[in-house]
């Protein structure tokens, strides 16, 4: 491969990654609560969030075909690195230009805001790169572990955009036990319907209702629920509140998270 095509290839890959990062993370760049969260979230929670982001991006690069030829270990690790660096730079540049963060006057919270924002940005970058031409490889028969991982990633994308907002707290406060229970059922029905009933592009054949419901829909909902709980905890929504509120908030956030989980199985 000549140097020119190499450079072009790199430029295309990076360009797509920037596009993906913006597509997935722009709503969160422009969410006020995130700017405030930058001042309050403890450092160890942010460190855990970065760790989760890294694991997620490496997993995405590994399972879902990375950029060009990301088959070897070094290949997909390099790919995850590219997605992360693009996410970091995109988030920093956009947030500085929007005057959300001021790296000179306000280093600490600038860092915190960027750290929160790279989660969806890195997933977007990674996803966009995985669509890069011949290099993208999709496992022909996705293994079960991959599917569950994929659902968790989809849940993260949707949940990350909503988890920082005050609306989750408000909705959970207004939600009674009965509505919470109905919401869980509704989430499950939506998830199952998305994948098996309504005929979107990547629709799958159900291998027996009970089996696919138990193995994928219920497990996917559990993944979405866990992702929601982790994000809410990270943003301090569980601090000083009782168990009913914790469960209520998680159930509320698990609705978009489970739709994201189902959509991820169709799209990726």
């Amino acid at each position: 491969m000549s140097a020119t095509t190499d450079t072009e290839h790199l430029a295309t890959g990076v360009g797509r990654a920037v596009g993906g990062a913006l597509l997935f993370a722009l709503p969160l760049f422009m969410t006020m609560e995130v700017w405030r969260l930058g001042h309050t979230v403890e450092r160890y929670r942010l460190a855990l969030l970065v760790l989760a982001t890294v694991v997620l991006v490496i997993g995405l690069a590994h399972y879902f075909g990375a950029g060009p030829g990301g088959v070897s270990r070094a290949g997909y690790l390099a790919d995850a690195g590219v997605a992360l660096v693009v996410a970091l730079l995109t988030a920093s540049v956009v947030l500085v230009v929007l005057a959300v963060i001021d790296p000179v006057q306000d280093r600490q919270s600038a860092l915190s805001v960027v750290v929160i924002e790279i989660l969806p940005a890195a997933i977007g970058a990674s996803y966009a790169r995985s669509q890069l031409g011949a290099g993208s490889r999709r496992p022909q028969a996705p293994r079960y572990g991959h599917e569950v991982f994929l659902m968790a990633a989809g849940a993260v994308v949707f949940a990350a955009n909503i988890a920082p907002t005050e609306e989750v707290v408000l909705l959970a406060a207004k939600l009674g036990e009965r509505n919470a229970a109905v919401l869980v059922v509704l989430s499950l029905v939506l998830m199952h319907g998305f994948v098996y009933w309504v005929g979107f592009g990547g629709q799958e054949e159900a291998t027996g209702f009970l089996r696919s419901f138990r193995n994928l829909t219920v497990v996917g909902y559990v993944a979405a629920f866990a992702v929601s709980a982790f994000l809410l905890w990270t943003f301090g929504r569980f601090d000083g509140v009782g168990l009913p509120v914790v469960v209520g908030q998680t159930v509320v956030l698990a609705l978009p998270a489970s739709v994201g989980a189902a959509a991820a199985r169709l799209i990726l």
């Binding site: 309050t40 970065v50 995850a80 690195g81």
Partner: protein
Amino acid sequence: MSESDRQGGEPEPEPERTSTGEYVLGGLGGLLVLLLLGFLIYQAAVVRDTGPELSVTVTGVETAGNGWSVHYRIANTGGQTAVQVQVTGVLSRDGTEVEESSATVDYVPPGSRRSGALLFSEDPGSGDLQVRPSGYSLP
């Protein structure tokens, strides 16, 4: 995609290698993330949350409209964000208070500065002006 598509439909894409540029960029990404993690963990483990430590300095006085504005800068050298910070300036002459002015700063994160101005109708230069933070709450 049906079985036949997979086998014969499209030619097997030739296995591309990750280019050097991508390795470099990827390595940079890894390095940045490690630095970020290291910094966050260092801050979490080593830097104690000491609570906000606020200090105010007057950066300038100028006439504004019918009065004077006293520009201040408030800095937080502690380990925690202070919100709803009250900045109060008291102008006294010969031991008696002439005028008081205050402003609220939304929030001052650790290691950060915020600027603003207090407005006076009396000339602040004509007496003894004291500007200090007078209260805050924790987020």
